[in-house]
């Protein structure tokens, strides 16, 4: 098992005095306060019929009154009958594209006058990001990716630099979707650590109000630039009720009892053939997944040939040549590649990083073009544990 120190972010006790409330104008003030401290604020915003995480400058850009409906191979935005700013579940893309960009230059090379190769590291100063609206499942995903990219034996410089200065405003989830199963994975709907601030949106009155929990001294400091009220007991109880309500509305469940062992002893289960007949090996799931980290290192030569760059791009284990070694590809079939993805995500991830790779966000279900549901696949294997293709029993 790999070394699995997580980045510990000091969490102050959520006691009376460290919980405040804000009105909607307070969100604007919060964004302004962050700008004044040099942060680029990334927040959900409506784009192309879905919700993306983009830089925002005012709270006006948040998805006001927007909700979503999600199911296997199904994602639609819908109008809510209130003015919630965070009334949806997960977006098609995750926060990982801002911490672990889809393409990064690792280093460059060129030849000097004598033909000698010279290498230079290319580390642009990292942006200072503040993520506004990180759901519990997404925060869990960031903490999981930390184990792969930040606290492993070789921290990734780009990820580590962006992560170090990252300011996180979690949103305690009040709007799970039909594909959600964070409660099964133990990752939500409420975040208890890992954030600088956490907000819960209360929708009892015509204008939303926000209960704000302080998570770190940095969070405390940012809130000093924002006018707020102390939260009442009733406010705090209402905030807890939001996530308790969400926990009862999960779209799906995943039975995680001894899941790694279950998958490990069913590597030849006939269900893999069944799913392979449906799977297009398109890799949408790996693209959407907030914990997937696989990448390709490619060579990008300048047009004039005077220099070249080593670029890391997102990759997917579903690509046919992902496992190519001289002479051929190890995982030649969709069957073996789907099996690799699922048994890694739910199984071998534990041995490698000490945690599951799945946070129960359900993106892979919504964004699979044929609606393959990882919870259903696991359930079928569990209920037919030990089945072999062609077995007479």
């Amino acid at each position: 098992m790999r070394d699995s120190r997580t980045i510990r972010i000091a969490v102050m006790a959520v006691a009376s005095g460290t919980t405040m409330t804000l009105g909607v104008e307070g969100l604007d003030a919060l964004i302004t306060s962050l700008h004044e401290r040099g942060y680029t604020v990334i927040a959900p915003t409506v784009r192309d019929g879905s919700i993306g995480y983009e830089p925002v400058t005012t709270a006006e850009q948040l998805p006001r009154g927007v909700g979503d409906e999600q199911g296997p191979a199904h994602y639609r935005l819908r109008d809510r009958d209130d003015d919630a700013r965070f009334g949806f579940a997960t977006a098609p893309s995750s926060w990982k594209r801002h911490l672990y960009p889809p393409a990064t230059t690792l280093w460059r090379a060129h030849r000097d006058g004598d033909g000698m190769l010279l290498f230079e590291e290319t580390q642009a100063p990292p942006p200072r990001y503040a993520f506004l609206g990180v759901r519990a499942c997404e925060l869990a995903a960031i903490l999981i990716q930390d184990r792969v990219l930040a606290t492993s034996a070789y921290p990734d410089p780009t990820y580590a630099a962006r992560r170090r200065d990252l300011f996180i405003i979690a949103v305690q989830c009040g709007s799970p979707s039909g594909v959600c199963f964070c409660t099964s994975m133990g990752t939500g709907p409420r975040s208890n650590e890992g954030f600088d601030l956490a907000i819960t949106e209360l929708l009892e009155s015509s204008d939303p109000r926000y209960v704000v929990e302080i998570g770190t001294p940095a969070g405390q400091e940012v809130m000093e630039g924002v006018t707020s009220q102390t939260a009442t007991d009733r406010d705090r109880a209402a905030a807890i009720a939001v996530t308790e309500g969400s926990a009862r509305q999960m779209g799906r469940t995943m039975d995680t009892r001894e899941l790694p062992a279950l998958l490990h002893r069913n590597l030849e289960h006939p269900r893999w053939d069944d799913v392979a007949a449906r799977c297009l090996s398109c890799g949408n799931c790996t693209n959407a997944c907030p914990t997937c980290f696989c990448s390709d290192d490619i060579e990008v030569e300048a047009a004039d040939g005077a220099s070249t760059a080593r670029v890391r791009e997102w990759a997917s284990c579903f690509s046919r040549d992902f496992s190519y070694i001289h002479g051929g590809t190890v995982r030649q079939t969709t069957r073996s590649r789907y099996r690799q993805w699922m048994t890694h995500k739910l199984g071998t991830w534990w041995e490698q990083f000490g945690t599951s790779g799945c946070v129960g966000c359900g993106r892979c279900i919504a964004w699979c073009p044929v609606g393959i549901d990882i919870t259903e696949e696991a359930a079928v294997i569990r209920s037919t544990d030990g089945a072999r293709a062609g077995a007479s029993r």
Binding site: W107, F119, A153, D297, E299, A315, Q332
Partner: protein, 279 residues
């Protein structure tokens, strides 16, 4: 088995110059490399470096000579792809990039005082040459040393002069066998497994095997039949390697990252992984 190295490997290549070149066979070249900045990291036999050919790419190549000491680092490259072909075209004076060292080593430290059975198949002799040369330099630390080398034909045997020198030694038992004899060959003909019945195998001996996966599989089985233990049999695995630091994901074999948990792994750990097709 991961070597505890003083310094971590750099992530950006370090410029190295080719200071020596030897054509081993028609498609195999050994390159001797020195860093242009004079640096020299500590390497252990069994580890590999990522070698970079300008504007072509990187490839994982095992260290192929005694890694202990201050001399140039040797890598033996077989021309099987675009990057390896570019490396095989380098000559003294040319430069390339080197990142490393990475991976687990053959674990000679844990084999002190024990017998060694070293079985090399084809180009697998290159990574094992590093440990054989190290064993020779510390011969008194080990018991009986049996070396079995399998190759396709006599012409395709790499390091011919060195293998002959090893055969001359009284303190090593060296068996060379070919899959296909060519006229004039007076030696053994047959796969390496047919040689093993004549090799001394102590139950506490340590076996080091390197070659194509099929060869390693059958060799390990034959050694188990000879009474060796799965925990004492070590193989060197190979998978697609790009980052070499357990982050790109390509080299995974079950839960194993071959670049970091391997490439040297015990048969005990590898056998169940090898048993699953297309894992």
């Amino acid at each position: 088995m991961a070597a505890e190295l003083a310094a971590r490997a750099p992530l950006t290549p370090v410029t190295h110059r080719v200071v020596g070149r030897r054509d081993e066979t028609a498609d195999v070249v050994t390159l001797l490399l020195e860093a242009t900045d004079g640096s020299r990291l500590r390497y252990a036999a069994g580890q590999f470096n990522m070698l970079y050919a300008y504007a072509v790419g990187e490839v994982a190549i095992s260290i192929s000579a005694n890694p202990v000491g201050d001399g140039p680092i040797a890598h033996t490259v077989r021309n099987v792809g675009t990057v390896s072909r570019a490396l095989c075209e380098l000559h003294p004076g040319d430069s390339l990039g080197l990142r490393g060292p990475f991976g687990s080593d053959w674990g000679l430290d844990s084999a002190t005082g024990r017998d060694l059975v070293i079985v090399a198949g084809g180009i697998g002799l290159a990574p094992l040459r590093s440990v054989i040369t190290q064993v020779i330099s510390q011969r008194e630390h080990f018991g009986d040393v049996e070396i079995v080398i399998g190759t396709r034909t006599p012409e395709e045997l790499a390091f011919k002069e060195e293998v002959d020198a090893w055969r001359e030694r009284k303190d090593l038992s060296v068996h060379v066998t070919v899959d296909r004899a060519t006229p004039g060959w007076r030696g053994t003909v047959g796969v390496v497994t047919t040689v093993l019945p004549r090799v001394h195998c102590d139950p506490e001996a340590v076996a080091l095997i390197c070659g194509p996966e099929v060869m390693m599989r059958f060799t390990a089985l034959a050694l188990l039949e000879r009474g060796m233990q799965a925990a004492n049999i070590r193989v060197s695995m190979e998978r697609n390697m790009q980052c070499a630091v357990a982050q790109c994901g390509h080299c995974q074999l079950g839960s194993v990252f071959v670049c970091a948990d391997g490439p040297v792994l015990t048969w005990e750990r590898v056998e169940p992984l090898m048993a699953v097709r297309q894992l």
